[in-house]
Symmetry: C2
Subunit: 321 residues, 2 copies
């Protein structure tokens, strides 16, 4: 019998049932393990991994053909060296996080535009606070750097909230979702940064994206710009960002991802002005919809896999997503 | 010459120009004063007030025919006693606040659903925080109590973000905006509260709405419910709300309005569990769009007034909006 190891903590009984039924239909059985767990010695029994396997046993799983990662950012799983052989196919769960991460982006964007950090501090001291200047998503000019599933979910919501102009920026010149007013490729980023009020970064970590928001590019942003990053911390020159915030060269930033994570207690990011830090929780799996989508997407690709069809979320390990 | 006194602090040069041009076109001149200011003795010169007049001079403005209030909540301006004669027409600026207040509602709703108060507290101590359970506007069941301009702006955005079911509740049985899945009148509120995950209150203060979210009705809400109030603090039995929050009978609340304002330092609201307080800033005039709309609506009604047409935002002082 062909076998699947599913290694995740978030599965409900309904999720297990759904995975088992799909597996049965296409001739597989499933063993469930907690996240990052597998009985040593049994790794060679499996043709398919789903979830998050222990890295040492991933390397030894010599019969593995397909690893379906339960999250979207697979930068840790790109190198051939971590697999028993280079032909193992990697898929990710890109598509499961659009809802939760776009809600995070909307929330932190509004918090920055509406002065919430200042109000929160005042409320903490039981002090009433006078109104302070506020801005709106309505009428704003937005650049979405990384116009994939997450960026596009945000762009659709921002459009519905009345954004004036939304520009998408991606690696390749493909037509964008209709919610984008204009689409650009990475090489034209310098043209649009000076016209950006809200810069949303939702990029995977790849050779193309590491350091993409460089010191020089931060300098191109207008004084009223805010920067929101939900992709990977490596995309930003953090030192330059901290300087820009502390000198009020830009209006604010919200980082859900940074380098390193967790952030050490003495890191200068904690003290940067108008910076909203969240501990990499924008896409966390505690949201039911995300879990449901994650499982549904695995089941969909399991049927593709069994039928010999292309996997829908196959990662090109050379380009990184 | 017929005269207008415009008493507000937020006017830009462009706003003044716009008001003056409209006035000129319909045979009026305009005197500009700061908010809550008017030269004593000159109050009798004016046929129209726009903005926020000193209450004592409002009473003495014996030639006043129309007062256009620059905000939406006119509970302070309902009584005949404050006017020189009962025929003074009152209009409000309902319609100028939908954008800014709906963005506030989206923001605080997401903050409550996504555990932001807990993350904020952790970040303040420079501590990385593990993921905590989160919920989403997507798939949620929402009741909008007060389905006017503000409530409807919110409902449209919530719909675009994937809310499953949005119920509007209003005083009279009128057809609602298409963003509402169902419309109810106040007398059927008890039916829908038990099925409400997100209760948004955007009500004017009127005899119908004072205390509408009573102790008995708070008890009807399910454990996972959150309550967001942006209308008037009088709509809620605050003592019962504090108890429900502290006993975790409901999941959270966000109050931008409360009784009294400003909230005294020793008030128990400051300490209520899972309560997000903001100091009545959801609709503040610092947002450019709100100011622009406020002025545009006054100019529109000034043309109506001069032509003898009905005023578009005339308040029925008996029902309170």
């Amino acid at each position: 019998m062909r076998k699947i190891a599913a290694m995740e903590d978030f599965f409900s009984d309904e999720h297990r049932r759904q995975i088992e039924e799909t597996a049965k239909k296409v001739g597989f059985t499933v063993d469930f393990y907690p996240r990052d767990t597998l009985t040593p010695g049994r790794e060679t029994e499996y043709e398919v991994f789903y979830g998050f396997p222990p890295m040492d046993l991933l390397k030894k799983a010599e019969n593995l053909k397909w690893y379906c990662c339960s999250f979207a950012g697979v930068d840790r799983f790109l190198s051939d060296d971590i697999y028993p052989h280079p032909d193992v196919m990697l898929t990710n769960s890109s598509g499961a996080y659009g809802i939760t991460i776009s809600e995070h982006i909307i929330m932190v964007t509004l918090m920055l535009l509406r002065g919430m950090p200042e109000f929160t501090e005042s409320v903490r001291h039981r002090r009433w606070h006078d109104p302070i200047p506020m801005r709106s998503i309505c009428g704003s000019t937005i650049t979405v750097l990384g116009a994939g599933d997450i960026g596009t979910h945000f762009a659709r919501r921002a459009k519905a909230m009345g954004a004036k102009l939304i520009r998408g920026v991606r690696r390749t010149a493909k037509a964008g979702d209709p919610c984008y007013d204009e689409m650009y490729t990475f090489d034209r980023l310098d043209e649009i940064l000076p016209k950006t009020e809200i810069l949303v970064m939702a990029l995977p970590s790849t050779p193309d994206t590491v350091g993409i928001l460089s010191r020089e590019r931060i300098a191109l942003l207008p004084k009223e710009a805010i920067v929101v990053n939900v992709g990977r911390g490596t995309a930003i020159d953090q030192e330059a960002l901290i300087e820009a915030l502390n000198n009020e060269r830009i209006a604010g930033a919200a980082l859900d991802v940074m380098v390193p994570e967790p952030l050490p207690e003495d890191h200068p990011l904690w003290d940067a002005k108008n910076l909203l830090i969240t501990p990499h929780i924008s896409g966390n799996m505690s949201l039911g919809i995300t879990r449901d989508l994650d499982v549904a997407m695995f089941c969909e690709d399991l049927e593709n896999y069994a039928a010999g069809r292309p996997l829908k979320r196959l990662v090109n390990r050379k380009i990184g997503y």
